[in-house]
């Protein structure tokens, strides 16, 4: 019974292994543990503290901040108090937070530190009717705030109030855990919002635990496995694959010191399971490649030899072919001597199974990590289906597919090719949006994912792209822009890309370069530059990108090759609304913003005078002007 709710799992683990480590946080330079008993106490105290402060059953609570144990305590605590938690991305702009807070009807906010408090204070007038208290868990440098803003409360204070309440309600959490109905809402998570403002998907305990169990039949997480909290906690990926799984399996959930120390912390911890969006994997490759570019000749030679051999063997394996004796032996040796240490250096040395999800990954990126010896598997899912519907099973891994449906989940296609999902992992509905909820289901009760795809002969699901995003050229050729984009982004020099070509004669691309890698490349060649803008418009950089695109073009049929491209003067950024917070291109928005530039791409102009509005991280707005060159790509 207890194992059917998230709160129940906390109670169960705390009674079965009270002194085992539940979570660790790197604080003051050391990994400080929190046992299951302590976690249970904190959750109970936070719940009682909330109730004492006026929080009522059925209220919502929004959490804003980086990944820290307090996030989990606040989340589980509000659940235990009968509330409905939700989370915002810590780097969201004030306006985005205002939207989420009003939409979720949050009565209480839990935020990390001064940075978020300052953001919320800007929008306070918009949300003050709804929000009663803002609880802060890291009050560094904020002593003068508390006198000034009476609605602020310290996290420690809430726990303290809870400790007082605890005297009369010793077994609050246990009783609560026995009462909670697993089919009732547990949390609300934002949808990705590539096409519109994000909605909140309401998930029940059952949804999450079912997803976790079903995925667990494919990939098992053991008691005591180390995992690292790296993806945003407001994202289903982190909530399902890490939070729910760690509760279910009794694993050790570790929190980095700061977002900036994530890479060092990953290296120290060497987790057993690791997952990320394609952006994370692309980022890892970029750092490895950049490091290798700067390495000495011998290292570079052996790295290149090792990765080439490993890729050959991986590709042969995936195609069920034989790579040949010599390659196999060489691969064994080089993997042991070169790739294994490299994997350790990245922090993935102990990973049993790694997953990628939340968007299409380029087959090159995928194969690269397979070659490195990582058991990487794709997951297809979204908030609305508990984060997972299909995944690769065992050795049956193919880079172009997202695998097969997980046990007890039904996946099929609608007549026009939309992927449909049915199972206990499918959410209860969208918060306060009955219409969208109903539109999200077919007549026979399947969830519409909004993604298009097809089943291959091998039974694997192939995902095209967002169904709405498929483009048609003037000559009638249909293509998925994301396919080309993911391949472009595989280049170490290209950070983001957007493909245009819908109702146009040919395909073009807007590209933004990777500042670090292109910067290093330029320095080595003695090309001087001042700013990102300056670097992006250098002739040499255009040549570099042109060559990269030409190589990628070779992989596509002639009619959907990139014809012309322009390098953007700034990186595409979520603050400017160009990407979602999970770093997916918001096509419609970028199309509108760069409309004039895109038009010029089709007018045989050599350059374009750009004039757009941009936002700084602190919310200031200014206009941004500059000249963008337009180049052609020759076959």
């Amino acid at each position: 019974m207890l194992e059917n709710t998230l709160i129940g799992l906390v109670v169960k683990n705390a009674s079965e292994m009270p002194d085992d480590v539940a979570m660790r946080e790197k604080r003051y330079g050391v990994w400080s543990p929190m046992t299951w008993r302590e976690l249970q106490e904190n959750v109970q105290r936070f719940a009682l503290g909330l109730l004492a402060l006026g929080f009522e059953e059925g209220n919502s609570l929004a959490i804003i901040g980086d990944n820290k144990p307090e996030w989990i305590i606040a989340e589980l605590g509000s659940m235990a108090a009968g509330g409905l938690p939700t989370g915002a991305y810590p780097d969201s702009l004030a306006d985005e937070m205002a939207y989420l807070i009003s939409y979720s009807n949050a009565r209480f906010l839990v935020v990390r530190d001064q940075e978020q408090v300052d953001k919320i204070l800007v929008i306070w007038d918009k949300i003050r009717d709804n929000v009663e208290k803002m609880i802060v868990w890291d009050s560094r440098g904020m002593s003068h705030y508390y006198g000034e803003y009476p609605f602020l409360e310290r996290f420690e204070k809430v726990l303290e109030i809870g400790t007082g309440e605890e005297q009369s309600q010793k077994d609050y959490l246990l009783k609560k855990a026995e009462k909670i109905d697993p089919t009732q809402p547990a949390m609300m998570l934002t949808t990705s919002g590539t096409t519109a403002l994000p909605k909140l998907s309401v998930l029940s305990h059952e949804n999450l635990i079912f997803s976790c169990e079903s995925f667990g039949e494919v990939v098992k997480m053991e008691k005591g496995d180390e995992i690292l909290s790296a993806a945003p906690l407001s994202w289903i990926g982190e909530q399902m694959f890490n939070v729910t799984r760690f509760l279910k399996a009794g694993a050790h959930y570790n929190f980095p010191e700061e977002t900036e120390t994530l890479r060092k912390d990953l290296l120290e911890l060497q987790p057993f399971h690791f997952g990320g969006t394609p952006v994370v994997w692309e980022f890892l490759i970029s750092t490895i490649q950049a490091a290798m570019d700067n390495a000495d000749f011998v290292k570079r030679y052996f790295y290149n030899l090792a990765i080439r051999t490993a890729l050959k063997c991986t590709e042969a394996n995936l195609a069920d072919k034989n790579a040949g004796h010599w390659n196999r032996i060489l691969n064994r040796i080089l993997s042991f001597l070169v790739l294994r240490p490299l994997k350790n250096k990245v922090g993935l040395g102990r990973v049993k199974v790694a997953i990628t999800g939340g968007g299409g990954i380029s087959p090159e990126v995928f194969k690269y990590f397979k070659a490195l010896g990582l058991d990487l598997r794709q997951v297809f899912g979204q908030s609305e289906c508990g984060g997972i519907a299909t995944t690769h099973k065992g050795d049956d891994v193919r880079p172009e597919t997202v695998g097969v449906s997980i046990p007890n989940v039904e996946v099929k296609l609608s007549e026009d090719g939309e992927i449909l999902v049915k199972g206990k992992n499918v959410h209860l509905g969208y918060y306060k949006n009955e219409k969208a909820t109903q539109e999200g289901f077919t007549k026979d009760g399947f969830l519409r994912t909004g993604d298009a795809g097809y089943f291959g002969e091998d039974g694997h699901l192939y995902v095209f792209d967002r169904a709405k995003d498929i483009m048609t050229l003037d000559d009638g050729t249909r293509f998925a822009p994301q396919d080309i984009e993911t391949r472009l982004k595989f280049s170490a020099y290209i950070n983001e890309a957007m493909i245009c070509g819908g109702n146009r004669p040919y395909v073009t691309a807007l590209v933004s370069i990777d500042l670090e890698n292109v910067g290093n490349w330029a320095k080595k060649r003695g090309i001087s530059f001042t700013t990102f803008q300056d670097l992006s418009q250098r002739r040499e950089v255009y040549k570099l990108v042109q060559e990269e695109i030409r190589k990628i073009n070779e992989r596509f049929p002639a009619n959907i090759r990139i014809n012309r491209f322009a390098i953007l003067l700034k990186q595409l950024h979520p603050d400017d609304g160009e990407l979602t917070r999970t770093r997916k291109v918001r096509r419609k928005f970028v199309n509108e913003r760069y409309n004039a530039l895109i038009t010029d791409l089709y007018q045989f102009r050599k350059q374009h005078d750009l004039d757009i509005e941009i936002r700084y991280e602190d919310g200031r707005i200014s206009t941004f002007k500059g000249t963008v060159a337009i180049e052609e790509v020759y076959a």
């Binding site: 604080r27 050391v30 440098g141 002593s143």
Partner: protein
């Protein structure tokens, strides 16, 4: 002798201070008193004697004349390290850190004189020495590295860090001495706007949350006027004004020193 209440409030008192190098008069008849908990700024044009005044306070320069009292003790005649031991720490205009050492090691050095060390004890790593070291390390982590937002640079050599971060490390090193009085010497010079905003918030945090009295020398007027409680203006080695930022801004001599005389 019982101190009066007003006297006890004063942390640093400078009376009739003169400093000259040969025939050059650097400081002339300076009188100042800094209260406990003040954020006190000293401003003035180039060569007004601001840094010289700081050098006098931590006894790096010997004054010809006049006395400095800190927390009821005469500083005159003390060596700089003895002044530091009394609780006066400072940062430097041109960051004086060990470039090849890590951030953590640089900060630990600031702590060094608070540690109970002995040659033999450290050599043999006696338990009490190890305990003492761990205690100090914990304090450094919690009160300084975390407080100054340096956790992501803990093991980076100072030499590879951007200038703004180095200044923060310099400040952290000074804070590691658990000072009663912190002297900041043009901490914002050479910084970009964003770095200035950053360091300003750290100065405010140190002042407010750690309750350290601060004497802050700065060339740039805007942040000083925004943040300080009291401001003193020097020109050609002489104090020409003292008061709240508002009072000082209206002072005709100050306007003249900064903008020149109106014809």
């Amino acid at each position: 002798m019982a101190m009066t209440a007003a006297k006890r409030d004063v942390l640093l008192e400078i009376e009739n201070l003169h400093l000259s190098f040969g025939g050059v008069k650097v400081l002339n008849e300076i009188n100042l008193s800094v209260k406990r908990g003040d954020l006190f700024s000293i401003i003035g044009p180039n060569g007004a004697g601001k840094t010289s005044l700081l050098n006098c306070i931590n006894m790096h320069y010997r004054t010809q004349h006049g006395g400095i009292t800190f927390d009821g003790e005469e500083l005159n005649g003390l060596k700089p390290h003895a002044v530091a031991a009394l609780g006066i720490a400072r940062t430097f205009q041109k960051v004086e850190l060990f470039q090849g050492m890590t951030v953590l090691d640089n900060i630990k050095l600031g702590r060094h004189f608070l540690m109970k060390l002995s040659f033999l004890g450290s050599f043999l790593r006696l338990p009490n020495i190890v305990r003492d070291e761990i205690k100090h390390r914990e304090e450094i982590e919690a009160e300084i590295i975390d407080f100054m937002g340096l956790s992501s640079f803990r093991y980076s050599p100072v030499g590879i860090l951007p200038f703004g971060v180095r200044k923060r490390v310099d400040m952290a090193r000074a804070l590691a001495m658990s000072p009663k009085l912190l002297l900041l010497d043009e901490i914002m010079s050479g910084m970009a706007v964003e770095e200035k905003e950053d360091i300003a918030s750290y100065i405010m945090d140190v002042h407010r949350d750690l309750r350290v009295t601060i004497i802050w020398i700065e060339h740039d007027l805007a942040p000083v006027m925004d943040l300080s409680e009291r401001v003193c203006v020097l020109n050609f080695g002489t104090k020409i004004a003292e008061g709240t930022p508002d009072e000082v801004q209206k002072n005709s001599q100050v306007i003249e020193a900064y903008l020149g005389r109106q014809k």
